[in-house]
């Protein structure tokens, strides 16, 4: 396995307030890696640093062996990093199809678009049914599907999922995670951050626990699921 993404001692701050204090971890090609943590632990900050929406104050990010620390977000998309942002972040006034079309914006190849669209429609049949519906009028779960589908339209090597289960009904959460696993089986590396630790750990090859900007625990998903400290803090089991 080769290392696809590597964060080295990453520090990100908002003004003077540091949100990440020297974060280091790697994501290997083909893995699902989960980052779990409470509100304000720095999960979304980590995601934005990787996708390029936030600048680093220190440290570096390597993607596929290349330093992308200073690379603009829209260039990183072309390199193969796609993000489904927190709070879904779809274009509310555009239809499903137009949203998916926006996902191909940074692509140079036009030939693979059709296959990717078919792949997205196969993963999310609901999107195919609703293709001409305006994004903002869809339910939370559907918007989440659209956000993930749109990110896949960029044909990423690394898919960043920021809280894919946020605000979803339990049956939707299970469904989303099943689809995430399926996307991974099709060959896309996945890094996801979650508050819903149970599902995130169960599906992950490896996982990290983030607390106020630093990693406190790491291990395979299964290890962390059975770790008593994690159980108590994140799984709601005493």
């Amino acid at each position: 396995m080769t290392t696809l993404l590597e964060l080295k001692d990453v520090v990100v701050g908002y003004g003077r307030i540091e949100a990440l204090h020297g974060l280091s971890f790697t994501v290997e090609e083909g893995e699902i890696v989960s980052l779990i943590g409470a509100n304000g632990a720095g999960k979304t900050t980590t995601m934005k640093a990787i996708s390029g929406l936030l600048n680093l104050s220190r440290g570096s990010i390597l993607f596929d062996g290349q330093d992308i620390t200073r690379m603009k977000a829209h260039v990183r998309v072309a390199r193969g990093i796609s993000q489904a942002p927190e709070g879904r972040g779809i274009f509310p006034g555009m239809t499903v199809l137009e949203n998916l079309d926006m996902g191909t914006y940074g692509r140079k190849d036009r030939t693979g678009v059709k296959e990717d669209l078919e792949r997205v429609f196969a993963l999310f049949p609901r999107l195919a049914e609703r293709r001409s519906q305006v994004g903002g009028t869809m339910s939370g779960g559907e918007q989440q599907m659209l956000a993930i589908g749109r990110a896949l339209m960029g044909h990423p090597r690394l898919l960043l999922l920021d809280e894919p289960s946020m605000g979803l009904a339990p049956q939707f959460i299970r469904q989303i995670f099943r689809i995430i696993a399926e996307i991974n089986e099709q060959g896309t590396t996945i890094l996801l951050v979650e508050q819903n630790a149970n599902q995130a750990l169960a599906r992950a090859d490896r996982a990290f626990v983030l607390e106020t900007g630093t990693i406190t625990h790491s291990g395979s998903g299964r290890e962390l699921l059975t770790d008593p400290a994690i159980k108590e803090a994140y799984l709601g089991v005493a």
Binding site: S51, A73, V77, M94, D101, M102, G103, G106, V113, G154
Partner: protein, 407 residues
């Protein structure tokens, strides 16, 4: 052209039912929404005929000087028409910035001023700079205003929302104050006898004169038509898609691979260029430029025009500009209260029709025309196709929708 709409026959095809639904969504919109639907349903020749009639009426307007509509005796009607046209052009330009890219520019008057001064510098006998024919100052004004637009945009477009608005407001003031304190700009004394396009009538008087607004109006309307076509093409291109995405959600656009900064800068530069062009036209007709016309209040009036007409819709912005210019010219008794009146109008509008007179479409402007065509065809061939019939996808919708202004 959208990549998805382009090459995929079955998955992107819409069903008749979906099209019908879309129709009924349109039907729920009242007022001008109904007009758009009716327009989209017209055959191409009908649209052309309609456009030609409207254009003929627009060109004929100052000559007809219709009763009730006329601004006389308070203001000369052809000159009033010209001023409306200039404001309409300003509306179209500012709409690129505010409406398309969603960047609130409160200092747009600065570009108008830059255009006016460009025309004055290079044509007025009061100016020491080399003199060039007036018509050459029009592209020059566009170019110089664009340079200023980029110069303002480069450091400031990293700001968002309110912050950007404040900086642009400051920029508007800076340009006005510079015009006052730089000796070469001649402050309140200004520049007289700004140039005009060539040509004389049978008595040897120039056709484009300060007292005759009609030829100026025709020039301005022609310029507007050209600009509308250019802007319309941009709107339907990759650039237009990027602008709509930026307006809807800038971060999301960036992580879709849209170089947001670059496209915001383009919106700023294009808007500035159109502002400069309108300023140069205005300076030519009035024949005199000094520092008195470029205040913040006029900037606000420009924004009001765009919002009133329908931010994000070029026809709306055009209409808004014309209305904002027309009302104080027509109703001279209330002209002094125009800011009060527009304020009240805007508040009422925000309550009852927040999208403006002509609503913008946040769609990517790719499908609507094709969809309307399909529905009409299917309606006329009623009976055979119904649910689940695959419809030709929006292939080459871009070429099909390159017709006239109203989208």
């Amino acid at each position: 052209m959208s990549a998805i709409g382009g090459g995929t026959p079955t998955p992107t095809a819409r069903t008749v039912q979906e099209l019908d639904q879309e129709e009924s969504f349109g039907g729920r919109r009242r007022f001008l929404g109904g007009w758009r639907r009716r327009w989209n349903r017209m055959a191409r020749w009908q649209q052309w005929l309609f456009l030609i009639i409207v254009l003929a009426a627009i060109y004929y307007l100052p000559v007809a000087n219709p009763w009730l509509i006329t601004t006389e005796p308070g203001n000369d009607f052809p000159i009033s028409c010209f001023q409306m046209a200039v404001y309409a052009l300003v509306g179209v330009g500012l709409n690129v910035v505010v409406g398309f890219a969603g960047l609130l520019d409160l200092g747009y008057i600065a570009f108008f001023a830059i255009g006016s001064y460009t025309a004055a510098f290079f044509t007025s006998p009061d100016s020491a700079v080399i003199h060039i024919p007036y018509l050459w100052t029009l592209p020059l004004a566009i170019g110089i205003a664009m340079v200023f637009g980029v110069a303002l945009g480069l450091p400031t477009l990293r700001l968002r929302g309110d912050y950007l608005a404040i900086v642009t407001l400051g920029f508007g003031e800076i340009i006005r104050i510079l015009a006052t304190i730089i000796p070469a700009a001649k402050g309140q004394v200004g520049f007289k006898e700004v140039g005009h396009p060539p040509g004389t009538d049978s008595q040897g008087h120039p056709i484009f004169s300060v007292s005759n607004g009609t030829p100026w109006y025709w020039l301005a309307v022609t310029v507007i038509i050209v600009i509308l076509m250019l802007v319309g093409n941009l709107e339907r291109s990759r650039v237009g898609r990027a602008w709509i995405a930026i307006r809807e959600d800038e971060d999301a656009a960036e992580i879709m691979g849209v170089p947001t900064f670059k496209f915001k800068l383009w919106a700023f530069a294009i808007g500035a260029g159109i502002g400069g062009l309108s300023g140069a036209l205005f300076a030519g007709q009035v024949g005199f430029v000094n520092n008195q016309k470029f205040d913040v209040a006029t900037s606000m009036l420009f924004v009001a025009a765009v919002v009133l007409g329908g931010s994000g819709n070029k026809v709306g912005a055009l209409l808004g500009g014309a209305i904002v210019a027309y009302i104080p010219l027509r109703f001279t008794a209330i002209a002094d209260y125009k800011y009060l009146i527009f304020g009240v109008i805007l508040i009422v509008l925000m309550i009852f029709r927040p999208q403006g007179l002509v609503a913008a479409k946040s769609h990517l402007l790719t499908y609507s025309r094709v969809v309307a065509d399909r529905v009409r065809e299917l309606r006329s061939a009623r009976g055979a196709p119904s649910r689940g019939t695959p419809v030709r996808p929006a292939a080459h919708a871009a070429d099909e929708s390159t017709r006239g202004g109203a989208e």
